[in-house]
Symmetry: C2
Subunit: 334 residues, 2 copies
């Protein structure tokens, strides 16, 4: 059975392909009667338009790209849910690209977007963000681009973030208030804006409470954090840490086990994390819960707004959605 095309419908109904196309797109140029005949036959023959043909002609693909570092991460998974909810509603398709924190992969992916494969891009950049700055600046001039969470400061376009600095400030303050005096921040990258923001808030709290900001206050991890983390905790002799990624929070539990540190007695932990199991961990994990779903939704909504009306200036549409601190036993005062 051949694939049903517009031409086949045209032949069967003794009409031109133009008429068929217009009828299917509910053009006002077509009479009610003809439109019905066409649509009925289309349904009967189970006609499905070829998306590539129309994308080629219309120069728009009804497809957006989501570029993220990792998918097995509650934050990104939730964000995708938010994005997808909007996309499905608008009849758009979602291409997912994973960079696995490789800026090289990221670059290759971004380059592909110059082909017109997608109408817009949502991205949360790699830790080596600096490398992609140029490509992103370039790309943002060619099609609508919205950052979420991991933004690239220098690129002039919309950015959906959470209140990273403030959230870190509140988290740090909480640790101080439950008795910590030697607090460490476990960070993932020196380059990420969100990390810098969190560090800012962290420092602000330390300063406010007149706690020393030392060389070791912030530790950076890239991969294979486990081993490094053990070292850090051993060396730093922290009594409280803030894990700025979901993975790092788990790593702290692991390291504590290895080092025979009791949480929260010997060490208190706060995680920037959307883990649904946070409250069932031992001890239950105090978290900075980021509004992942909402951020994804906001980013997608903004993107579609720009796609619909090209006069929307994305640069001016940035948005900050606050995180929430959920206090649990991993920061229980002893």
């Amino acid at each position: 059975m051949e694939n049903v095309t517009i031409r086949m419908l045209a032949e069967k109904l003794q009409l031109s392909t133009a008429t068929i196309s217009k009828a299917l797109n509910n053009s006002h140029e077509i009479s009610e009667e003809t439109r019905k005949r066409v649509q009925d036959l289309a349904k009967e023959l189970n006609y499905v338009p070829n998306p590539y043909a129309s994308s080629l002609r219309k120069k728009s693909s009804k497809t957006i790209a989501v570029v993220i570092p990792e998918i097995a991460d509650s934050f990104f998974a939730e964000a995708i849910n938010g994005i997808e909810a909007v996309a499905q509603e608008k009849g758009y398709h979602v291409l997912i690209y994973l960079t696995h924190e490789s800026s090289e992969k990221e670059q290759a992916i971004l380059k592909d977007f110059q082909s017109g494969r997608v109408d817009g891009v949502l991205i949360s950049v790699t830790m080596e963000t600096a490398n992609s700055e140029h490509s992103l600046s370039q790309l943002s001039k060619e099609l609508p681009l919205v950052f979420f969470d991991r933004v690239c400061e220098e690129v002039a376009t919309a950015k959906i973030t959470t209140n990273d600095s403030e959230a870190a400030y509140i988290a740090t303050k909480h640790l101080i208030e439950v008795g910590c005096r030697n607090i460490g921040l476990l960070a993932a990258s020196e380059q990420l804006t969100i990390m810098r923001e969190r560090i800012k808030g962290f420092y602000r709290a330390l300063t406010e409470y007149q706690l020393p900001v030392t060389n070791n206050s912030v530790t950076y991890f890239t991969r294979e954090a486990n081993q490094l983390l053990s070292d850090t905790l051993r060396l730093g002799k922290f009594d409280g840490v803030i894990a700025t990624t979901e993975k790092l929070a788990t790593n702290v539990y692991e390291a504590a086990e290895t080092l025979k540190l009791q949480l929260p007695k010997d060490l208190k932990v706060i995680g920037f994390s959307n883990l649904s199991t946070a409250r069932f961990l031992y001890p239950s994990l105090t978290t900075v819960y980021q509004p992942a779903f909402e951020m994804g939704k906001a980013a997608a909504t903004l993107l579609f707004k720009a796609l619909k009306n090209s006069h929307v200036t994305l640069t001016q549409q940035s948005m900050e959605i606050p995180s929430q601190l959920f206090i649990r036993n991993s920061t229980l005062q002893q």
Copy 2:
């Protein structure tokens, strides 16, 4: 700046578009010298081929679809990682579609695939699998289709599963061996093959140990499991349960809290789960760990094999990758 097309390259080099196309595709019809000239100019002008033009002509899109119920689930997230790893290696793009357990959405998605948008499909079906049977049978005749995990028995194509029956048998046996006598299986759907398989293994173990199989041995949950679960645990008076989805495992912890049941003293739990935090839960969760990454990888590998060589009969390529029981404290003998 206009988009660079093959025609522009042709004009600049005073060659035909056919030559350009062939040169870029390393056709042997083109002289070494011309090919180099073309490729150099292409690089210089940053030429990126329009994927829709070539997809339209070649009737292949270098794109595959992954259809899953949910993304915020460790199993599916890991599976996608496996799929993506293979796809990226083969230069394929991955479209992700979420059904959110709605067979209606699933049907709509499957219908769209008749358009030729994707070259192949990887799917883990909705709980209401029966509804999609027909569409899937149809689709499997039009393009390569591979099931992973949640398969549709009746559709004649490759299926990548884990040893669900055996895994459930082993899990049940484990519960019995640590002293449980009144075991419940928390299931998600009556229709899913993997559920039926798990129930089979569950019954086999019960029978083998001469434990009664009652009407209440298996309980089905769809949405909003929390409330129902509390009821079930209260009513059923189980001393051991097997949660057959990741979500249900968490629900058990939640319900135990509500009902003031102590895990594992009052109730032992095993979860079919890939939660990375399983070992840090309180109590740490005994899990049936499914090889999600490997399953995704296997499914994708098989799909690409079929895409490369259309003579591969997918029906005969099904594969079972064993799960592994990780015994932790949620089933600790008292």
